[in-house]
């Protein structure tokens, strides 16, 4: 928890904290959401990193989003509610392309 405080994660204000976790270009790792993929810079960053290209996510009804708190897909309507409870909403999640090496065949 010291970790979180140092990163300034406690009570974050989404409109003022320009960190990757709240940026529309950023997709958190599907399992470990403190790392993620930045579509703008085509590289992985930490959720608490930031840059000048930051653009906040605008949640629209009728579209699908990824909640990295719940690790599940949610609708825009759901996302608007979840954000109020401190959940982190993203446009999408990031799945490591090497994941096939870790999966068993299931049919």
């Amino acid at each position: 928890m010291q970790e979180a405080r140092r990163d300034g994660e406690k009570s974050p204000s989404r409109s003022t904290v320009k960190m990757c976790a709240y940026c529309k270009y950023w997709r958190p790792n599907v399992f470990y959401p403190y790392i993620g993929y930045c579509e703008k810079h085509n590289k992985m960053t930490f959720d608490t990193d930031s840059c000048d290209n930051f653009e906040p996510i605008k949640v629209k009804p009728g579209e699908l989003y990824w909640c990295s708190t719940c690790k599940t897909r949610v609708t825009g309507e759901e996302a608007k509610v979840l954000v109020r409870f401190g959940h982190r909403i993203h446009r999408n999640a990031y799945v490591d392309p090497d994941i096939k090496e870790e999966l068993y065949s299931v049919f």
């Binding site: 928890m1 010291q2 970790e3 979180a4 790792n29 599907v30 399992f31 470990y32 403190y34 790392i35 993929y37 590289k43 992985m44 960053t45 930490f46 708190t69 719940c70 690790k71 599940t72 959940h87 799945v95 490591d96 090497d98 994941i99 090496e101 870790e102 999966l103 068993y104 065949s105 299931v106 049919f107």
Partner: protein
């Protein structure tokens, strides 16, 4: 600690696809390199990605027969794993977790099954605790478990900083950090962990370097913040011995390859597919020099055909066998159900074909990725009409290897379907095998009465004394091949005299099989033959029950174990004699009906009165078997149902 006393159990939990597999493999390789023997068994969900899965590993100087809980250590790097396993670590053991997961609430863990969420929420409520991962850590501490929180995000950052590698690659070392922490605290020196990483990632030097760096960092962290292990484990007895790490799926595929398989057909299904995928991956395989010399072959491998469904899979295997291929198919319960009509055809047309049946939890699609021994009836009674076929059940990896070869031999020698019964536990349990364990030179390929140059008077279904007719492949001679009753030349007939002759011929064939396969291969009595308590079981429970016998002996209970290997033709006299010699017989199975006990009664007239069952779909433990047997011995209870495992 003396080498002989080494007995380590630990688990690695995490989201399916989140690196658990690599971590498990590296852990197994570390201990094999260090000279120990291992088993590792995977429990995973059928949703493919994201839900909780875990790898349980046991390490001993000799091959461990079973896993059981509680474990000495757990690596649980996500909240769901913490919450699933916080009570699975024994007092004095330790649990490694990621501090970033602590605040996660049970309600927010999407993949966690609702019944488990409800049980856990009630558990924490009763204790006045918040339903979070943090509460689970607290309870573990209260239970005497040392909890080790790793600031994973910082550690990852440091690996990135040290290696200069992009975060995309560094992020994959997360499990290495957790694993190295655990192995080091279990008493494994950094050098062995580094060697295992090098072996695991072999050709990928950059990946090796990065993971080695991550392991070093983890070990430094332990030294600085937690304190290293009290002492290091001695090297094991098999130090320097070449070993192969194999799953049950793989060992069956290897057995088939060594046994001269030329065609495998399949339609994808859990837990069978990995066998066919392994065969596909080795369809044109370069033999090691020693094997090439011994076998006078450079390459081995078979054609693998994925068909559009299971009925096609068995029909393609039958077609190939008629044309002279040594053929097999592989499936699990639901797929085997679809193959039923064709099994009957193979019996009538006397076609050699092996059906490898990887059982899983049923009925229906049931528990696709979980253990079950529920298809014994299904195997034995598959196909309509009088439907004899050889049914053989393997007890462990080594038996499965040789059974795969024998099944191919029996199929061709006796021109019959052979069902090779294996199961999910065997499929997804990994162990080390040494060269002498699976010696290809011990495997003789037998093809029976195969006629390469049939003359003009050739009769495919010639009536013979032993019931076996000379078999010519299609194409060598005009051949009529049908599921209808037939005359000696294969032409359909409904003539009552011929019908009776042909039924009798096929019956004689099974009398020949019953005579030629020795009783020792059909049923094995393990332990003291004079013990008055006999445990009866079959399939992958074998090594688990052998371990349970040792536990019982320490408790002063002397028992032996009758392992049924071949269910048809059934070793009636041998089994009856053994059971009648016991004062107490206990049937142990992973199905609800006591299917083997039912068959024993049918074949021998002996009624088994006591049962130990596990039907949760989770791996059977030696400890729970021993406890259940003890309870029956002490109380005379009719049935004990065991249910360990998450």
């Amino acid at each position: 600690m003396a080498q002989n006393n080494v007995d380590i159990k630990f688990l690695i939990g995490g989201p399916q696809g989140g690196g658990i597999e690599s971590a498990g493999q590296i852990a197994l390789k570390t201990f094999i390199l260090k000279g120990y023997q291992v088993i590792g068994t995977r429990e995973y969900q059928s949703n493919i990605m994201g839900a909780h899965s875990y790898f349980t590993i046991r390490v001993k100087p000799e091959r461990p027969g079973a896993i059981n809980f509680p474990v000495d250590a757990a690596v649980v790097l996500d909240a769901e794993s913490v919450l699933t396993h916080f009570q699975d670590v024994k007092k004095g053991g330790f649990m490694v977790y990621d501090t970033t997961t602590l605040k996660t609430k049970i309600a927010n863990i999407a993949p966690m099954p609702k019944p488990l969420k409800d049980r856990l929420t009630a558990f924490f409520q009763e204790r006045g605790l918040e339903p979070t991962a943090e509460s689970a850590v607290k309870i573990a501490e209260e239970n005497g478990v040392k909890t080790i929180g790793l600031p994973m995000k910082n550690l990852i950052r440091e690996v990135a900083h040290k290696t200069g590698a992009p975060l995309s690659r560094v992020s994959k070392t997360l499990n290495t950090i957790g694993l190295a922490t655990t192995l080091y605290l279990l008493g494994v020196e950094a050098s062995w962990i580094e060697k295992a990483i090098a072996v695991h990632f072999a050709a990928k030097k950059k990946v090796v370097d990065m993971n080695v760096e991550a392991a070093k960092l983890a070990i430094n962290y332990v030294d600085e913040h937690i304190g290293g292990p009290c002492c290091f484990l001695p090297e094991g007895p098999n130090l320097g011995k070449e070993a192969m790490l194999v799953t049950g799926n793989e060992i069956v595929a290897i057995g088939k390859t060594v046994g001269g398989l030329t065609l495998q057909t399949y339609y994808p299904i859990t837990p069978a597919s990995d066998e066919a995928l392994f065969l596909e991956g080795h369809r044109n395989y370069d033999l090691a020099p020693w094997a090439a010399e011994a076998l006078e072959l450079k390459k081995l491998g078979s054609v693998v055909l994925q068909t559009e469904d299971e009925l096609s899979a068995i029909m393609a295997a039958i077609g190939a066998a008629v044309a002279g291929a040594r053929s097999a198919t592989s499936t699990s319960g639901p797929g085997f159900a679809l193959m039923n009509e064709a099994i009957s055809l193979a019996i009538m047309a006397e076609v050699p074909v092996v059906l490898t049946l990887w059982q899983r939890g049923g009925p229906s699609t049931g528990l696709p990725t979980r253990e079950g021994q529920q298809d014994l009836f299904h195997a034995l009674f598959s196909g309509h009409g009088d439907n004899p076929k050889i049914v053989v059940a393997s007890g462990d990896h080594i038996e499965a290897f040789y059974d795969a070869i024998k099944a191919l031999n029996w199929a061709e020698k006796y021109q019959t379907p052979v069902v090779h019964l294996v199961d999910k536990y065997l499929a997804s349990t990994i162990t080390n095998v040494y060269r002498e364990d699976i010696d290809p030179l011990k495997a003789q390929i037998e093809r029976g009465k195969l006629v390469e140059n049939p003359g003009p008077d050739y009769l495919r279904y010639k009536i013979t004394e032993d019931g076996i007719s000379p078999r010519a492949p299609m194409g060598k001679v005009p051949l009529v091949w049908t599921g209808l009753e037939h005359t000696e030349d294969g032409m359909p007939t409904e003539d009552p005299v011929v019908r009776e002759q042909m039924m009798a011929k096929r019956r004689r064939k099974f009398e020949t099989i019953a005579r030629e396969i020795p009783d020792d291969e059909k049923a094995v009595l393990h332990g003291d033959p004079d013990a008055k308590i006999t445990l009866v079981s079959w399939g992958s429970t074998k090594p688990i029950i052998l371990e349970a016998l040792k536990i019982l002996e320490r408790e002063g209970i002397k028992a032996n174990f009758l392992q049924l290997r071949i269910f048809y033709p059934f070793p009636t006299e041998k089994v009856r004699k053994i059971l009648e010699n016991a004062d107490l017989v206990i049937d142990i199975e992973q199905n609800d009906l006591g299917q083997a006990a039912f068959l024993i009664r049918g074949f021998t007239g002996f009624t088994i009165e006591h049962f130990v069952k596990k039907i949760t779909g989770r791996a059977l433990w030696d400890t729970e078997v021993a406890l259940a047997v003890k309870k029956i011995v002490e109380t005379g209870e009719r049935e004990v149902v065991v249910n360990g495992g998450a």
